[in-house]
Structures are given as structure tokens and as C-alpha cells.
């Protein structure tokens, strides 16, 4: 059976079951612009629902994308009352974790505390782990009681502006890693329990492990949602170049191994130089290169929504510009008709 797959994200915007949308790709391809555009379109198309855009990239850009300061707490976007943004701060999460640990052990001279601080700071992927913990915390705080149902989240959909590929994949491995980590900690407590009791911790160890088990349950619950294609999808963002294409294919395959749904690819920074009135030789040459990879993508990704976005004459910053740019996610960019936007967009 043949389907004609529209080269838009209309399905994503109109699908009413999605709870989690991840937007990721190699560095510098336009992830933040794309995730912001998706969030804006969702907010515009569903004015009665609330949406949350979270940046898990330690090098946050959301504030600059919307020209508005965001922090670790969700804040509404000016001009879009049903869209909020949040920038996870791993350092703040780490200090929160330390404060929580203090309730189990208040001794400032405890060498075990210092050891744990040093250890946790060294774990590979600790930034991603802390971001994930922050997400879990905020999501847990967002749960509202509606008709005695405690499982309702107040945001209809949460969009993640992720870090470059490697970090994101590590972020997604966390449930598996956390399970193993908890297992090892339990082994350690058995082997070194008496020594740890001697150095510090004492009877609060059991409380600590109970807390960790609770975290693990939450992580498992979120993990089940992430692998449900009706609830979660991953939008790959790339540009029409060799490295980006290879990286995109690798990322798609890796996400497939994690059983995460990927059905949309956004190709940014396209020149569409064929119909230029006075084309520059550089643009023509570059567009020729882009077309080569676009043709390859059309063949590789015939079962995906392949969305082609233009390279504009200015940065896409601010709600107004994002709104203008994001409409091409739903209606394919036609260089003959929409060319004006390249120069019309004003700098914010």
C-alpha cells in the first residue's frame, strides 16, 4: 500500500496523543529554532492547551531564541500565554541533590559526604543525569488532581530541545544506566556497609536506598512512555551536507535500537537558489551540493516526513519571527511564492 507522505509536520501538530516530542541532531543545524517553531505552532493550533518547551542542552539557547530570559522554572512566553519555556541547570540540580543528601547526613566533617560529591561529579553523563532528574522533578510537580486522577500532567505536550547527538543519546540511556547503577550501589552497600556505617551514613542508608528505588520507579514509568510511539516521537534536524546526513542516519538507527519512534526529519538552511533572480555563484554551487544530498535523503527517507526549511537572510529570533518561520513546518516552503520572507524578516 503506497502512502503519500506530506513533507510537513502537520501530523505531529494535529496528533492529539503525543506527550513528549524530542528535537535533536548534530550541533549547529537549527535544533533550537526547530524546537521553538514546533512549540509555537502547537501553541497556536491548540490555544486551549498548555505546552512546555524544555532545553536540556547545557549550552542553553532558548532565551536567545525567544529574546526572553528563562530559568529553571517554567515561564510563560510573552505573546503566547499557553507556551512556557524552561532551561535545566545541571549545577542547580546538583546543589539540590546535595541539599537533599544533607537531610540524611548533616555532619560537615563526614569524609563520606566529600567522597560522594567527588564521585558524583566524575560520573560520565552526570550532566544528562541531572537534567533528567530535574525533568522528573518538574514533571512530578506538574501533576494535578483532576477527578482524583493523579496521573494527569498539566501540559498537553512537552517539547525537548536537546543537546547535540551524543549527549542526547546518553540522556536516553539513563533508565538502563540507572538500573545498573542502583544494582551496583546495593552490592556496594553489602560489601562496604559496615565501613560506611563507621565513616558516616548510619541508619539513614536504608532511607537513601528507598528514595533511590522511588526514583527508579519514576524513571521506569517515564521510560515506558518514551518507547510508546503514540506518546513520544523524535524529530531529527539536519542540514543538507554529508556529515549531517551520516549523523542523522546513525542517530535514527540508534534511536530505533532504543525503540523510540522517529518519523520526521527537518532539513534546514536550504538555499533554493534555482529561482533566484540574480543568483550568486556561491549560492548556486552550494545549492547544487544541497540538492545532491536532498535527492539521497528522498531515497533514504521515503517513509519519513521530510520537511525542507529555507535559509533566511537573518536570524530567526523572537516570537514574531518564529511564528512566520514556523508556518513552513505545516505548509511546504515554495520558493516562487514565499521568497519574500528571506529579506522581509526583521532582526529582533
Amino acid at each position: 500500500m503506497d502512502f503519500e507522505l506530506e513533507p510537513t509536520l502537520e501530523t505531529l501538530i494535529t496528533q492529539d496523543t503525543l506527550k513528549w516530542i524530542f528535537v535533536g541532531g548534530k550541533g549547529g543545524v537549527g535544533k533550537t529554532t526547530t524546537s521553538s517553531s514546533i512549540a509555537v505552532q502547537l501553541a497556536l493550533n491548540h490555544p486551549n492547551d498548555q505546552f512546555l518547551l524544555i532545553s536540556t542542552d547545557p549550552a542553553h539557547n532558548l532565551s536567545d531564541a525567544f529574546c526572553q530570559k528563562f530559568g529553571k522554572d517554567a515561564r510563560k512566553v510573552e505573546g503566547l500565554p499557553n507556551l512556557s519555556c524552561m532551561e535545566i541547570d545541571p549545577e542547580a540540580a546538583m546543589s539540590d541533590l546535595q541539599q537533599q543528601a544533607q537531610q540524611y547526613n548533616n555532619d560537615p566533617n563526614d569524609p563520606l559526604k566529600s567522597m560522594m560529591n567527588d564521585m558524583t561529579g566524575s560520573i560520565p553523563g552526570i550532566d544528562e543525569a541531572l537534567s533528567f532528574m530535574e525533568v522528573l522533578k518538574h514533571i512530578k510537580n506538574q501533576k494535578v488532581n483532576e477527578d482524583d486522577s493523579k496521573d494527569k500532567i498539566s501540559y498537553r505536550t512537552i517539547i525537548f530541545d536537546t543537546a547535540p547527538t551524543g549527549h542526547t543519546l546518553r540522556f536516553l540511556q539513563l533508565p538502563s544506566t540507572l538500573q545498573k547503577l542502583l544494582g551496583k550501589f546495593q552490592q556496594l552497600s553489602g560489601k562496604l556497609g559496615p565501613m560506611m556505617s563507621m565513616l558516616g551514613g548510619g541508619a539513614n542508608q536504608q532511607d537513601m536506598f528507598a528514595k533511590l528505588n522511588e526514583v527508579q520507579k519514576n524513571v521506569t514509568e517515564v521510560n515506558e512512555q518514551f518507547t510508546n510511539p503514540d506518546l513520544t516521537t523524535f524529530v531529527c534536524v539536519c542540514i543538507s551536507e554529508f556529515l549531517s546526513l551520516y549523523e542523522t542516519e546513525r542517530m535514527i538507527q540508534e534511536l530505533m535500537s532504543y525503540q523510540m519512534d522517529v518519523n520526521s526529519i527537518v532539513v534546514n538552511q536550504l538555499l533554493f537558489a534555482d529561482d533566484d533572480e540574480s543568483p550568486c555563484s556561491r549560492c548556486v554551487s552550494r545549492w547544487k551540493m544541497q540538492k545532491k544530498y536532498l535527492d539521497q535523503m528522498a531515497e533514504l527517507y521515503e517513509d519519513y516526513h521530510l520537511v525542507k526549511m529555507p535559509l533566511l537572510g537573518t536570524e530567526i529570533r523572537g516570537v514574531e519571527n518564529l511564528t512566520k518561520f514556523s508556518k513552513f513546518l505545516l505548509k511546504p516552503y515554495d520558493p516562487k511564492v514565499d521568497r519574500g520572507i528571506i529579506t522581509e524578516m526583521k532582526e529582533q
Binding site: P111, L169, Q173, T177, F226, F242, R250, M256, D303
Partner: protein, 313 residues
């Protein structure tokens, strides 16, 4: 919701499901690696023959559990009703299960990083307790009774290796006792033969102990110092043999690993690193203790024989 809308929703869901099946089918059976290699070749990359993570997972899965399904290029497209009614085949695996982080590698990295950091900031000063602790963890804290040489890292042990190490330790203990017994027999025989030979061959009852000084002052026609000479020669030979065999078979090490004193020193070295300097001295003392014990035991036997002889007068 009206019927056409329900139908449309089902159609959309069915469409999404079918597309997912198609995407999955295109990545199955080695095609994922082919796609990557195709991209690389068309992009004139220097990389060749890369393997996809999906194909690595498949080969692992095939090695562990043989597939019974037919080898077809594309899976059959399932009917939507069967998809909807199908229970999950297996519980949802955690994300990243295919390529999980090696947690032991994570721990080793942490401990090595801590060691390096402590070493970098306090070069030449081996008194940093953190560095010593991390070094201890990374080298492995041996279980009581287990040889350090056979214990690599605590996080690497699995039950089979642990059981093997316990049995190895018990074997080494047995070997230690066996050799000690053998040497005991040899010492007993040599000392006894040496004693009774001189007792029987030296005339005039000169080979006797006496509490009377004038008896001890009598000069014998046959010198008795040959007994002392032989005794010392035999002892030297026995001690050398015992030391050589024990060192070669690691019997001293086995005994040291089980020593409470050395274990206490290891623990104390965590907070007082100077104790590490005296550990080898203590280990050496334990070795010499065995040898000294041999000499004293043989001397004691000679004293017992002289004591028994005194009853014959």
C-alpha cells in the same frame, strides 16, 4: 465521535503503524549497515565497512537465541486487528538496553580520575587519604581469605570466579600444611638419627647432659662437637629448602593474606599511609618467624632427648 471520524482516526493510526513497520523492515537484516556504508561511499568518506548498532544487536540476539522465523526480506504487513489485540511479547526494555553503559567501566573511570586528580594536586605527597581510598577501590579490596594476586577488581568478580578463588585459597592452605608436615617428618628423622648416632658411637658416656659441672668439665677422647656441626648443617639445609619451596609455591603469601595483623595494617593505612612502609617488614618478619620456629622446634627436640636420657642414669 461520528463513524467517519472514527474510521479516519483508525486509518491514521493504521497508517502510522504501517509506516513504522516499513521503516523497521528497511533497517532489518544488515540493511542498516548497508545504508550507512552507502552514505559513506556516496560522500567519498575515508571510513568504510561501518557496522550499525542495529546489526550488532541482531548478531548478539542471534548468538544467544536462535530465531525460528523465516528469512524474508520484508515482514508481512499485519492486519490492524491483530496488532491491536496482540499482547506485548516482552516487557518494554529500558531505553538503551542494546548498548548499555558498562557500569564497571564507569566505576573504574571514576576511581582512576579521582586517583589522578589527587595525585596531580599533591605530587610527591602520598598522604592523601582520598587518593589511597580510590587506589584501594581501583586495585580491589581482597575478600578475607582471598589472595590479592588472584583478586583483580571487586566489581569484576562473578560467582564462578569467586568460587574458584576460594577453592584456590583452600588448596594453597592445604599445600602449606602439607609441606610443613613433610619438613616436620624430615626434621624429626634427621635430628633423631643425628642424635642417636652420636649417642651410640661416642664412648665413655660423653654424649650426655649433666647438671654437675665436673661431669661437664670431663674431656672426652672422641669430640662431641660433630653432633653440633651436623645439627647446624642439617638445619641450614632444611631452612634453605623450606624457604625456597615456600617462596616458589607462594606459601608465604598465602599465610600473609590470612594474617590479621597485615589486614589491620591495610585498614590502618587508609588513614595513616605511613603504615604502608612497615607492611613489607611485617611480612618479612612472618617469613622469618617460620624459619625461627623450625630451628627452635628442632632444638627443643634435642633438649627433650637429652632430658629423656637423663632418666637412664
Amino acid at each position: 465521535m461520528s463513524e467517519p471520524e472514527v474510521k479516519k482516526e483508525l486509518t491514521e493510526a493504521e497508517k502510522r503503524q504501517l509506516l513504522r513497520e516499513r521503516r523497521k523492515a528497511k533497517m532489518a537484516k544488515g540493511q542498516a549497515s548497508d545504508r550507512l556504508n552507502n552514505i559513506l561511499s556516496q560522500g567519498s568518506s575515508v571510513k568504510t565497512n561501518v557496522k550499525s548498532v542495529l546489526d550488532e544487536e541482531e548478531s548478539v540476539a542471534k548468538a544467544t537465541s536462535p530465531s525460528l522465523s523465516n528469512e524474508e526480506d520484508d515482514p508481512e504487513i499485519q492486519d490492524i486487528t491483530s496488532i491491536a489485540m496482540q499482547p506485548p511479547i516482552s516487557p518494554t526494555p529500558p531505553i538503551g538496553e542494546g548498548t548499555p553503559e558498562d557500569i564497571d567501566a564507569i566505576f573504574n573511570k571514576i576511581f582512576q580520575q579521582q586517583q589522578q586528580q589527587s595525585g596531580d594536586f599533591k605530587e610527591g605527597d602520598g598522604n592523601d587519604p582520598m587518593a589511597n581510598l580510590m587506589k584501594m577501590f581501583s586495585e580491589g579490596v581482597p575478600e578475607p581469605g582471598l589472595s590479592r594476586a588472584t583478586t583483580e577488581k571487586p566489581f569484576d568478580q562473578d560467582p564462578a570466579i569467586a568460587k574458584y578463588q576460594m577453592e584456590l585459597y583452600e588448596y594453597q592452605q592445604y599445600q602449606h600444611k602439607l609441606w610443613k608436615f613433610r619438613f616436620l617428618i624430615i626434621r624429626f628423622i634427621c635430628t633423631s638419627v643425628n642424635f642417636f648416632y652420636h649417642f651410640l658411637t661416642i664412648p665413655d658416656n660423653a654424649f650426655r647432659a649433666s647438671s654437675h659441672s665436673y661431669v661437664r668439665g670431663l674431656v672426652s677422647s672422641t669430640p662431641v662437637n660433630t653432633f653440633i656441626m651436623w645439627f647446624l648443617t642439617i638445619e641450614a639445609a632444611i631452612l634453605a629448602s623450606y624457604y625456597f619451596i615456600s617462596s616458589k609455591n607462594g606459601l608465604f603469601q598465602t599465610r600473609n593474606e590470612n594474617s590479621l595483623i597485615l589486614k589491620g595494617l591495610s585498614l590502618g593505612a587508609m588513614v595513616l599511609p605511613q603504615l604502608n612502609a612497615i607492611k613489607p617488614i611485617v611480612a618479612r618478619v612472618f617469613q622469618y618467624h617460620d624459619l625461627v620456629g623450625i630451628v627452635l622446634g628442632d632444638l627443643a627436640l634435642v633438649v627433650v632427648y637429652f632430658g629423656l636420657l637423663s632418666f637412664t642414669r
